[in-house]
């Protein structure tokens, strides 16, 4: 391929992007015009919310329909929190709110006034990866990686819940401290689906961190 051809191809590509960009802008303007009465009513209904995300205070003025998941991803550009099913069935959107793991897709951002939120972006420190992140790498606890932020945050909380004595459906004796067995960890991680089925390595990673805690 000659230089001239390269240049021609490059121009074509640039023109292509420009065309797409113009097209998208046109689509957006059309949508905005069509929905302007709605947009006006939404301006009246917009709500303010303040919370802390990964140690930083954030304030948003948003449509009250905005889920915590969409607030994190679309308003705060924290795209580590993933949208899988958007119906609380897959766990990809799991984040930690006031020390508890939740499905951020089934919570409105405005419900979290004053809360302390930790996403996958906030788990590592200046000293390095969180032990659960390191264990997932060590044990190859993922394939495509899409569910991994949710898996890791859920796993961190599973160990906290075990330490706090929260029972599970496989806890034999409710009045004894739950065991940190593979069966317990599997049951407690059932809200996080992995389409690649990296489950054996995920469980191995969690048990490794659990073992090094004690």
């Amino acid at each position: 391929m000659t230089g001239a051809d390269d240049q021609a191809l490059e121009i074509t590509r640039r023109q292509f992007h420009q065309a797409i960009g113009t097209g998208m802008a046109a689509t957006w303007m059309t949508f905005a015009e069509i929905s302007s009465p709605l947009a006006a009513s939404m301006a009246d209904k917009a709500v303010s919310v303040k919370f802390t995300v990964n140690g930083q205070r954030r304030e948003l003025r948003i449509d009250p329909r905005t889920t915590l998941l969409d607030a994190l991803r679309e308003h705060l550009a924290l795209t580590g929190t993933k949208k899988g099913c958007d119906h609380g069935q897959c766990g990809a959107c799991t984040s930690i709110v006031d020390g508890r793991r939740i499905n951020t897709c089934l919570s409105l951002a405005v419900m979290h006034e004053g809360n302390d939120i930790v996403t996958i972006e906030g788990l590592a420190t200046a000293q390095g990866l969180h032990p659960m992140q390191a264990a997932f790498i060590e044990h190859d606890g993922f394939q495509c990686g899409y569910c991994t932020p949710g898996q890791i945050l859920s796993a961190v909380c599973v160990l906290d819940e075990l330490s706090a004595g929260f029972p599970s459906a496989v806890t034999a004796d409710l009045n004894a401290a739950p065991e940190g067995s593979a069966a317990e960890v599997r049951e407690r991680m059932s809200g996080n689906i992995c389409r690649c089925a990296a489950y054996p390595n995920i469980i191995a990673a969690i048990l490794d961190v659990k073992g090094s805690e004690t």
Binding site: S41, K45, A164, G165, L174, S190, G191
Partner: protein, 326 residues
């Protein structure tokens, strides 16, 4: 999700006032069922009243020796409460068999009672459903009814109630305490959820201006407490059939003190006549009790398997009671 106006209530009184003064409003607690249904536009409230900041989040002992569970106690906290684990084990076991760890951290006691059915026809926008659109008919009655009701159904609806917690509360003789403009009212859990009849969209006896304040349990009755849930996968699925059982054990024999079933009807299903009939071997006791509980069942070709499954789940639950680590 349809557009709505958001209100944050800061007290129970304020929540009641907002509920009375705001048409087409819904209370928002954990949101794990309501927001899902709003995304699907099955629920389309014009106003949401967020009650997460009105308190009602404590578990307290009553002078009677019983327990008062605040409406906004999260399912995970209720399951892990030391008194619940010790004295009302069937409730802990039912709670932890439902949903996932993430959902239990948000879902509340009252929200769990108010959750709506998972009947696939209720979710299917192209299907007739009298719960979704009253008077539109029910495509489930002659449709795919594998996991639908075998007891208490009508020509208008064969949906089941999805809660595990409510099945345990039914076995424990719980009472729901509600607050409205006229003050407090007590509703036995047995009267709280309604059978469909010809108004399946009316699911509870809660008035539209009332709020659940707490759930009260009588003093503990002891016994071996079991919740056995049968479902299509080992975890994180709704029940096909579930059994809440409180039993006594005498050597090889067992006796049923309290028994309620989930997955069979639009409400937790309990027939008191199946209880307190003395000791026997688990197989005999299960057979006798199941025949009383399932009397009058009207299954479809798709879900008649639930009758055998209920009997066998009870048999297994009685063996669980015998083997329970104390």
């Amino acid at each position: 999700m349809k557009d709505f106006t958001y209100h944050r209530a800061n007290s129970l009184d304020e929540a009641v006032t907002l509920l009375v003064s705001t048409p087409n409003a819904k209370l928002l607690a954990g949101g794990t069922n309501l927001l899902d249904l709003m995304k699907l536009q099955i629920e389309t409230p014009q106003h949401l009243i967020d009650i997460n900041h009105i308190g009602l989040d404590k578990v307290e002992t009553l002078a009677s020796g019983g327990l008062a569970i605040g409406a906004l106690v999260r399912n995970a906290d209720l399951a892990a409460h030391p008194i619940v684990k010790r004295d009302y084990g069937v409730l802990t076991r039912a709670l932890v068999s439902g949903a996932s760890g993430q959902l239990r951290n948000r879902a509340t006691t009252a929200g769990n009672l108010m959750q709506r059915t998972r009947c696939p026809y209720f979710y299917g926008a192209t299907k007739a459903c009298n719960k979704r659109v009253p008077g539109s008919g029910c495509d489930a009655v002659n449709g795919f009814s594998t996991n639908l009701a075998v007891l208490g159904a009508s020509a208008s609806c064969i949906a089941t109630h999805s809660s595990d917690m409510a099945v345990a509360l039914r076995a424990l003789d719980a009472t729901i305490v509600v607050i409205g403009p006229a003050g407090e009212r007590r509703i036995a859990l047995s009267d709280f959820h309604r059978l469909p009849g010809d108004t399946p969209h009316v699911e509870t006896s809660l008035d539209s201006h009332e709020i659940i304040a707490r759930v009260e349990l009588p003093a503990p009755i002891g016994g071996r407490q079991v919740y056995r849930k049968v479902r299509e996968r080992a975890s994180y699925a709704f029940a096909t059939v579930s059994v809440a059982l409180i039993a006594h054990v005498d050597a090889e024999r067992v006796a049923i003190d309290k028994l309620a079933f989930g997955g069979l009807a639009a409400k937790p299903w309990r027939v008191e006549a199946a209880e307190g009939r003395g000791f026997g071997l688990p197989g005999e006791i299960a057979e006798a009790a199941a025949s009383v509980v399932l009397d009058g069942a009207s299954p479809t070709d798709h879900n008649k398997y639930k009758l055998d499954l209920a009997r066998q789940a009870l048999h297994a639950a009685l063996i669980d009671a015998q083997e329970q680590r104390l």
